[in-house]
Assembly symmetry: C2
Homo-oligomer: 168 residues x 2
């Protein structure tokens, strides 16, 4: 099997991280992968807040107690979609996948952090969203953490296989 397919097959959500920060080069690669993502009519209807400040990550976790957990990762990226675009949710989700696979390509690990959406889309925390530089008219789709994983990646179990219909 080629190593590119292997990367796709071996990706797993990792829920424990070393506190080693990402380098500037690593962050730059994640950014570049996001910018090169496909989008409907090339609208690129996304915005990303890259949070390396651990205090702020802990604050965001605390805003979603008890289940707000970023697993000790050095970086949390919150992804936002432009509400009035053609396919904002799809395009931004695929850009998130681009970030996840750029991380895998560097032997880093990731986990989608869905609770972040509830924090940033909560009108009570509109000031936080504004302070993070999110433009008007964007809603949070999800977060993702990236870092040096401390877990062995488990073999994927319980994957559904009856999810295809093939029309020949």
């Amino acid at each position: 099997m080629n190593d590119k397919l292997e990367m796709i097959y071996r990706r797993r959500s990792v829920r424990s991280y070393a506190d080693t920060p990402l380098t500037g080069e690593e962050i730059g690669i994640l950014q570049k992968a996001a910018t090169l993502s496909p989008s409907a009519m090339n609208e690129q209807p996304w915005f990303f807040v890259i949070i390396e400040n651990q205090e702020i990550i802990h604050e965001i976790e605390a805003l979603h107690e008890p289940s707000g957990n970023c697993y000790g990762a050095p970086v949390l990226i919150a992804a936002f979609a432009k509400k009035d675009a053609i396919a904002p949710l799809m395009d931004t989700s695929i850009a998130l996948a681009n970030i996840i696979y750029a991380a895998e390509a560097m032997d880093l690990s990731s986990c989608i952090i869905y609770f972040v959406k509830n924090v940033f889309n909560n009108p009570s925390y509109a000031k936080l969203k504004e302070a993070m530089g999110v433009p008007e008219g964007y809603i949070c789709v999800s977060g993702v953490v990236i870092g040096h994983g401390l877990e062995e990646k488990q073999i994927a179990e319980g994957r559904k296989e009856d999810i295809f219909s093939v029309i020949i």
Copy 2:
């Protein structure tokens, strides 16, 4: 640069295909990549209709005249999301990205075909959706075509770079 990053950077939407069909092995790899995609609470809230029948692809194009174009690709995959899941649109979109990158890993090309959503979600064509084996309660997110591309992949132009806020 490693070849995995290069794969992510070089992916482009390709809009012209040879009529060479995909092999069973290639289809199997696309399927496996989809099944291994991440999802909120491991719900795997997706369903895929893999259409290799050219007559049916042309019928779907004709249902969305004049802009319904699958670019002569040998395979159209329509992706459906379970409406009442936690994150149906995000999860299914990321699974679409998995299919796209599995294609890239095999040196195949792809293009997201968004109009397919309008066809399958049109109540007038509910019978078509049913005939394709889509379970109750699933909505179409998008389609994607996969095949042997006939275009040189263009350099990405006009990518937005002011889409990040970095919080250190």
